[in-house]
């Protein structure tokens, strides 16, 4: 399933870029991320608990950041697998200055879902993935505002 | 295993007391614990309707109920409608109108129709199709089933009108 969209951040691009490089921040922003361990240069592992109303699944997740072009663009890859199936998301992120210390993030990518959730829950994917992305970006923006104001 | 539940219910007029695991589906309890295999299981997610039984007279999906939920209630299955040598009027109508092919969806349809006709003894074809909309059948295209329900309604009406001797 293709995803694309954009989000306007209330902070400068350089700070946003720092945040994206900080695994603690990523862990805090990815919905339901319990833990995150660095397992390689820009590669992380952790537990993600995805919850949609009554449906909840624990996923053993991996996150990696590649194609970094500081402070402008990179590729985020999230993978997880659990009892209810697996998911894989690849997102290309592009950041541009909007002036007044704002940053516009454009993202495009693919979400792949498999197993039980895919076979009986298809009607939910679209809004779930959109919801999770918006949630993550919202959290990131909060962190950004905090970090930016603390300067 | 989780704590067992002491279940006490009536099925087809007979009382049963039995300890069951809470997660046991009513459909499995009826079929495998009580051996009432007339109730069929087609999807276990509440769409096909093959497992429909009457709970206190109401048609419900036995695959979406836990046996423990029938505690203190009364269940009627297809076995409780009529016997081979003494078919229920609805069963008889299904035979007359050829409303049965493979017969797998039939028990759930019979229980649904018995309850439906009790509430609506003189239904239109549209109402009948609406009443059947929660029971999938792959063999008949529903037409002979609809005919059977109409026939059953007629027969039960005339039987009702004739004074019992």
């Amino acid at each position: 399933m293709r995803i694309e969209g954009q989000y306007s951040f209330d902070g400068p691009r350089e700070v946003l870029w720092e945040l994206l490089r900080d695994p603690k921040v990523l862990a805090a922003c990815l919905p339901g991320t319990q833990s995150m361990r660095q397992v390689g240069e820009r590669e992380y592992e952790g537990e993600i608990g995805v919850r949609v109303g009554p449906i909840s699944g624990a996923f053993a997740g991996q996150l990696s950041v590649t194609n970094e072009v500081p402070p402008a663009s990179c590729t985020l890859t999230v993978e997880g697998k659990g009892k209810v199936g697996f998911l894989k998301g690849i997102g290309n992120i592009d950041m541009t200055d909007q002036g007044q210390g704002k940053t516009l993030m454009k993202y495009t990518g693919e979400v792949q879902i498999g197993g039980k959730v895919a076979s009986v829950g298809q009607r939910l994917f679209d809004s779930v993935s959109r919801g999770m992305i918006e949630q993550a970006l919202g959290k990131l923006n909060e962190q950004l505002q905090a970090r930016a104001s603390s300067r | 295993m989780r704590k067992l539940f002491d279940l006490d219910l009536k099925v087809n007029g007979t009382r049963h007391e039995q300890a069951v695991e809470p997660r046991t589906l009513l459909s499995d309890f009826l079929r495998h614990d009580l051996g009432l295999t007339g109730t069929h299981v087609g999807c276990e997610h509440g769409v096909c309707g093959a497992c429909t039984v009457l709970l206190d007279g109401e048609p419900v999906r036995s695959c979406l109920l836990f046996a423990v939920q029938a505690h203190g209630h009364s269940v009627i299955t297809v076995e409780g409608l009529g016997a081979i040598d003494q078919l229920h009027p609805v069963q008889e109508a299904f035979r007359q109108a050829h409303g049965v092919q493979c017969g797998f969806c039939t028990p759930g349809i019979l229980t649904t129709v018995v309850a439906f006709l009790a509430g609506n003894p003189d239904p239109s074809e549209e109402e009948i199709r609406e009443a059947l909309s929660g029971n999938l059948c792959r063999c008949t295209g529903y037409q002979h089933i609809v005919d059977a329900v109409q026939l059953a309604a007629q027969n039960m009406k005339t039987a009702h009108e004739q004074p019992a001797r």
Partner: protein
């Protein structure tokens, strides 16, 4: 014989049991000590199996055993080929790759079984399945038929050079020459997508190994108990007489239960024998969407050459057929497509070429229709396009091309699914089509109603589609008919039954011969202990092939009865009649003897049976047709489309069938009704949505849309009878007639309703969303 039973609306013998919950289906089998199986199935469509840890599952209380491919050792073998490629056909290429009991090296479709858990209950077995940890390395899935054949595509079977599973070319006449003379040549690309059979009963197997008697009993939801028994015996190293396969009442077959062997079908008996415990596995609905075979996926690049007056000069079809991850069923489906793409038409020049493609999807084997609907869809869509191009009425262009009544038997010069020459045995096509037109009031609708409704801004459309159905193919079936001392008749035959009413139609055939009540004829089918020669119930052949075998056996028994009765009553045979269970002298009531008494006399306890004679009033007989009988029919439909919501409502539906001698019109109508409902599903509701990774996105009845009572129109059924010269009864099959023409007819009626939009429908199934895209000229797909 006084009155004939053939053709009567006889009520079904099997119904009382089915109506009271007393009929035994596989999941109803209970055996003391029964254990239950559940499978671990792959989430991925294509992946390398790197490892599996089943230790936690084994330790779970209530779990008896867990098996993987490794544990099977040498017993791990791919299933036997079900149907070999056509030996007679030239230019045939076929790579046989068969399904495996459990994944060993790599997963080839989502839902393929990787391990089986045996436990005290299905609940515990499913708990334990979740305990298993699998290490899979995902590979790119092969999903798209065209991409699959492009060089560099990932391979479903690494040992093959490409994903080409088979290639078959057939021709008659000279298409290129015909094309050169044509006034009009049309070329189209036609896409038909996958659907499921979705019988209400999922598959199931119960296997019991008796160590003391060294005997295996298997209850199986199969359409082919005898081949299953033979295959199991061979695989388990047993004599065929050590294996009994019972196909009890079966909750709908529709083709996939003809598939032999499913991995579970081989595995469960193997486990039962290994553990010396009875095992039950009942497929659940989600498994059914992955593990039970499917059909229909094809892409046709097709060309038709016509003369100005609408005569078909030639047809050229090049198509791809999706066989899924394996191809155990050979070329049956594409052969059917090739044979039906000429429809009921007199086509002299034909060239057809199929490439069968492996994909990372569930296996494909016949589903009610079995390649025929695709063939009919192709030719009928082309004729509708041609009619528009040439400005000829759609009925007229068909009439001009129908095979004329005096042309039968009509030899096509290509081979059919049974590898015998495609010969249309008999038929009189136009009157059937005419009757359908009359029944739906075609003239009046087109002249008066449609114009009036169009003025009111309503989008109503009509269509009519003629079609053929090849039925009753060989090789053979057999039956044993016995008169018992009770006077009741016992009939044993090999074919299984899945709701077709065999217990009644077969009984009618026997009762007709022996002058007994239909209710006094007991049919036993699908139990190898009762009869162990035969193939199975498929290709609309039960009533034709088994029916005629039973007829033959009953005729012999009739002769034996008359011979013995004539001795007993000292009356010449020709003066005797069989009626009401008695052999009697026509007009002397007291000069009679019951069949029961005769049966006892034929099986004496003392005295001597004459040399050269057999005891009992019994006969076993077989029937194998020279080639398949071909039925004909025409369906017509009126529908209305809401031009804003794109929702379609079928207003009227008419079918006229010519399937030779009708045994029981009541049952025949039931077959048509059910067939049409699957056809309507195929045309408008039922599509298996595989995403680009081979994930099935609608593996539930909530998202896979089977027509319900509120979607089905009333179906008006008409009959014509052209006997088949190929068998005594003159019967042809009708099992798939309801399904075959529907998608073609539906598209025709939709185009007709939207005539002012001039849109062309070259795909099936359709949906409101898709229609909206076509309507608003958006080719988003």
């Amino acid at each position: 014989m006084t009155k004939t039973l053939i053709g009567q609306r006889v009520l079904r013998n099997e119904d009382p049991r089915l109506l009271t919950g007393q009929a035994q289906f596989v999941d109803d089998v209970e055996i003391p000590g029964l254990l239950h199986a559940a499978f671990l199935r792959s989430d991925h469509a294509h992946a390398r199996l790197l490892g599996m840890d089943v230790s936690a599952a084994r330790q779970r209380p209530g779990v008896v055993a867990v098996f993987t491919a490794e544990e099977m050792g040498d017993d791990w073998q791919p299933g036997p080929p079900l149907v070999s490629p056509p030996p007679t056909a030239k230019d045939v290429l076929f790579y046989s790759r068969r399904q495996v009991p459990l994944v060993k090296d790599k997963v080839r479709h989502a839902g393929e079984a990787m391990a089986v858990v045996i436990a005290e209950s299905r609940y515990i077995a499913e708990d334990a399945v979740e305990d298993i940890v699998v290490d899979l390395e995902p590979l790119e899935a092969v999903v798209d038929l065209e991409k699959a054949l492009q060089p560099g595509s990932h391979l479903v079977h690494d040992d093959l050079e490409s994903n080409l599973a088979a290639h078959l070319f057939q021709k008659k006449g000279d298409y290129e020459a015909a094309r050169r003379q044509a006034d009009l040549v049309l070329r189209r690309r036609i896409v038909i997508d996958r659907g499921a059979a979705a019988a209400m009963e999922n598959r199931g197997i119960v296997a019991q190994w008796d160590e003391k008697s060294q005997h295996l009993t298997v209850w199986d939801t199969t359409q082919a108990p005898i081949p299953i028994r033979n295959g199991l015996a061979a695989r388990l190293g047993l004599s065929e007489n050590q294996v009994r396969v019972i196909a009890p009442f079966i909750g709908g077959g529709f083709g996939p239960k003809m598939m032999m062997f499913y991995p579970e079908e081989m595995l469960i008996p193997w486990v039962a024998k290994k553990l010396k415990r009875p095992i039950k596995w009942i497929e659940d609905r989600r498994e059914n969407f992955y593990a039970t075979t499917q059909e229909r996926g094809q892409i046709h690049d097709v060309e038709i050459a016509l003369s100005r007056d609408g005569h078909i000069l030639g047809l050229k079809d090049v198509f791809l057929h999706d066989t899924g991850a394996y191809d155990p069923y050979g070329l049956t489906i594409p052969l059917n497509t090739q044979c039906h793409a000429m429809g009921p038409y007199d086509i002299k020049n034909y060239s057809t070429e199929v490439s069968v493609v492996f994909t990372n999807k569930t296996l494909v084997t016949p589903v009610r229709g079995a390649g025929r609907p695709q063939g009919i869809f192709v030719i009928e869509r082309l004729l509708d396009a041609a009619a528009k191009e040439l400005g000829i009425d759609p009925v007229e262009i068909r009439k001009r091309n129908l095979i004329p009544a005096d042309a039968f038997p009509y030899e096509h010069g290509i081979i059919d699914q049974a590898f015998s020459p495609l010969i249309l045995d008999s038929g009189n096509y136009w009157p059937v089509m005419q009757k359908a037109l009359d029944m739906i009031g075609y003239e009046k609708f087109v002249r008066e109603e449609q114009p009036r409704l169009r003025k009111e801004g309503r989008y109503v459309g009509i269509g009519i589609t003629p079609f053929i159905e090849s039925t009753g193919v060989g090789p053979y079936e057999g039956a044993r008919v016995t008169v018992e001392a009770s006077g009741k008749i016992h009939v044993a035959t090999g074919v299984g039954t899945q709701g077709q009413g065999h217990f009644t139609t077969f009984a009618q055939v026997v009762a007709e011969q022996l002058g007994v009540a239909v209710g006094d004829v007991r049919i036993v089918s699908g139990d190898t202990a009762e009869f162990h020669w035969g193939t199975g119930t498929f290709a609309s052949r039960g009533a034709v092939v088994a029916g005629n075998a039973i007829h033959a056996a009953a005729s012999i028994v009739r002769r034996k009865v008359l011979e013995l009765a004539s001795k007993q009553l000292q009356t010449p045979q020709e003066e005797l009649e069989l009626e009401g269970g008695m052999a009697r002298v026509a007009d002397i009531p007291d000069k009679s003897i019951s069949l029961g008494e005769l049966a006892s006399l034929a099986n004496p306890l003392r005295g001597a049976v004459e040399p050269g004679t057999e005891p009992g009033l019994e006969a076993t007989s077989y029937f194998g047709p020279r080639y398949g009988a071909t039925a004909f029919g025409a369906h017509a439909m009126i529908l209305e489309i809401d031009p804003e919501t794109m929702m379609i409502e079928i207003k009227r539906y008419v079918t006229v069938e010519d399937c030779g001698t009708v045994l029981n019109p009541l049952i025949l109508e039931g077959q048509i009704h059910g067939g049409v409902s699957l056809g309507i599903g195929n045309a408008y509701y039922e599509k298996l949505h595989f995403d680009e990774n081979g994930q099935l996105l609608n593996a539930s009845f909530a998202d896979y849309l089977i027509p319900s009572a509120t979607e089905m129109p009333r179906i008006e059924v008409g009959h014509m009878e052209t006997r088949s010269p190929l068998n005594e009864l003159g019967t042809k099959g009708v099992g798939e007639a309801g399904t075959i023409p529907v998608p073609a007819l539906f598209s025709q009626a939709v185009e007709n309703a939207l005539a002012d939009r001039e849109l062309e429908i070259l795909e099936s199934p359709l949906s409101p969303n898709r229609l909206y895209e076509l309507w608003s000229g958006k080719e988003a797909r």
